[in-house]
Symmetry: C2
Subunit: 205 residues, 2 copies
Amino acid sequence: MHTSTPAELEIWFDFASNYSYLSVMRIEDLARRAGARVLWRPFLLGPVFQSFGWTNSPFVLQKAKGEYMWRDIVRECDKYALPWRRPAEFSRRSLLPVRVALYGEQEPWIAEFCRRVMLRNFSADLDIDAEASVAAVLAEMGLDAAAIIASAQADENKRKLRARGEQAIALGIFGAPTFFVAGEMFWGNDRLDDAIARAASPVPD
Amino acid sequence: MHTSTPAELEIWFDFASNYSYLSVMRIEDLARRAGARVLWRPFLLGPVFQSFGWTNSPFVLQKAKGEYMWRDIVRECDKYALPWRRPAEFSRRSLLPVRVALYGEQEPWIAEFCRRVMLRNFSADLDIDAEASVAAVLAEMGLDAAAIIASAQADENKRKLRARGEQAIALGIFGAPTFFVAGEMFWGNDRLDDAIARAASPVPD
């Protein structure tokens, strides 16, 4: 049997981001079929936006774009057969679940944790940042919520998250989701299929 | 033989916009196969951006986004088998060709004129705004360049273009290309296929 290292596909995402929701829900199945491995790269969009001098999401700051987005995301969820309810609060604070995802990004539970937090935000329309919210998600998965949350809130993990944000800016990330395959950047759920195709068929050099 | 009015698909575009280039080149073939009719809606992005307080394209104002776009557009042109050369000047002034397109938007030559101006900008990397540039495009098509340019620069057409810009803002347009099918808005070349599908299969009411 031929064995080779599967191609790797990074997904940079924030639980506050509705287009990240689409990709977080879709990526694992697509990657499996393409024989690629997903590398989860949770980060906070807020500091990236702040580095551009923005005080909020462009969907909040730009009224016309925001109004369009709320229509577009409904059609997109239909397209991918994903549940959707417009969150009463947008964009939601996502600091704690992002910290937990960062802490657990190499754990076997990471993909399901991410999907469950996303569904909580964009289908159940519930808070995702309170400790009780994150603990509920982890407990539903049969995990030790208290221990994981404690580790996620430890100084080392907080430092890692700040470094992750600096790395995002250094990589030229300006929105989410953003994908990387062998250094090639793809922005937006609309490019997930292209990123998967690149991961499945590495360009010969 | 069954006859029915073909569904109509509006494309709002500016010759200065590189993602408009992709859609202007693709839309006529796609619409023909879907049995839909293209309504050309040339407009100037500049006044729309100015209405948001922006002095230039987001691809110029936002460095990270602009750098990504120059990579993305190369991949997109590969995807659609379209020629591409990065314009030495971006975004190019497009006032005169937009005026000509507005003047001729119901003429049989409109689609080909639009494609030729786009190729001049994004494949030949030539000025598109000088009278000689527009005249060359029209003359290559066997049209009366002098008469068309005179009509395009007449006061009535100038007023029409200002009204078109006000209409764009009123419709909530914030970028280009933007498509409308039966009042439903689709933004970006990435949504052209969805807009075509909507035009081909009207939603029953």
